[in-house]
């Protein structure tokens, strides 16, 4: 399987994401935002970082980069699986490929912490993950508070589009387990073949990093389940 990782100017988790995918035995291919071809990849990751320096809004300028036309077409025509991590999630929301938007954290601070997230609904194509699973992964963001327009929250739950919610260590979702002020503690959503999440699975790939749950998430996304 070939998985492309798209670097935008200011992406800084692209190399970690390539390494994480290689550690899972995947042929991981770096792609550049100015390209219009996807080099025959089967799947795509939009990695974390600060594309275009977060100018205007996080992800806003990258969402209009040339490669995103091609990404949008691949999603529409081939239902290509696309995973957006952190800034990649922001880019997908800005492009309208995922619902909602990411606004500044309620605390006004940049957050760099380990969080537990609970799987609410398993997105299309994921294997080895079940609703209720808990994953421990780091977050690192300033604009990570998920928000939707008034009336937009109920449909997300009804359609099974809420992927991850911040929870406490036993899986209870409540205000005290909400690090950033996201509506309904939402840490990740999906729409068709597109999935986005604020936590960084590529930083939770080994015990010495603090957690191996990122492996479970990425394997799940690759459709391989946890091995």
């Amino acid at each position: 399987m070939r998985v492309g990782v798209i670097s935008f100017p200011g992406s800084n988790c692209d190399q970690d994401t390539l390494s994480a995918l290689e550690a899972l035995g995947v042929d991981a291919v770096p792609l550049w935002y100015g390209e219009k071809s996807l080099a025959g990849v089967d799947r795509l990751v939009l990695p974390g970082g600060f594309s275009y320096g977060d100018y205007l809004r996080s992800g806003a300028l990258a969402a209009r980069a040339p490669v995103m036309e091609t990404v949008e077409r691949a999603i529409r025509d081939e239902a290509m699986p696309v995973l957006g991590i952190c800034n990649g999630f922001q880019i997908l929301c800005e492009r309208g490929l995922l619902p909602g938007a990411l606004r500044p954290n309620a605390s006004g601070e940049f957050l760099c912490t380990w969080e537990t997230v609970r799987v609410a609904s398993v997105p299309l194509g994921f294997e080895g993950l079940a609703a209720g699973d808990l994953l421990r992964m780091p977050i690192a963001h300033h604009e990570g508070a998920f928000s939707v327009e008034p009336g937009g929250l109920a449909p997300l739950f009804q359609n099974g589009q809420v992927f991850l919610q911040y929870s406490d260590t036993v899986g209870q979702v409540h205000a005290l387990s909400n690090p950033n002020g996201s509506v309904a503690n939402i840490a990740g959503v999906s729409q068709g073949s597109v999935t986005g999440l604020m936590p960084h699975p590529e930083r939770a790939m080994a015990d010495y990093l603090g957690s191996v749950d990122g492996r479970k998430l990425l394997r799940g996304w690759l459709g391989e389940g946890d091995r």
Partner: protein, 82 residues
């Protein structure tokens, strides 16, 4: 014709603005009775268009498609002939 365009972008009322809250708090600490402070953005640029109506249409489209995120922001567009 050249038009001067000013786009004011603001958070929607229901969107929390921590930067605005912090700024209001500091103003209060300085002794000013400032409250409900919201920080927005002003984007100014020049635009070539045949007439003011077409300039306004184009500017509004730019605000809707890129300059503001309609999920969490509102915008106001002003177009003035140079």
């Amino acid at each position: 014709m050249t038009f001067n365009v000013v786009v004011d972008v603001a958070w929607k009322e229901e969107i929390l603005d921590p930067a605005g809250q912090s700024t209001a708090k500091v103003l209060q600490q300085m002794g000013y009775a400032a409250d409900n402070l919201r920080i927005g953005k002003q984007i100014r640029f020049q635009l070539q268009a045949p007439d003011v109506a077409q300039a306004e249409t184009a500017a509004r489209e730019m605000a809707q498609r890129l300059l503001a995120n309609p999920v969490m922001e509102t915008y106001a567009v002003r177009v003035v002939a140079e």
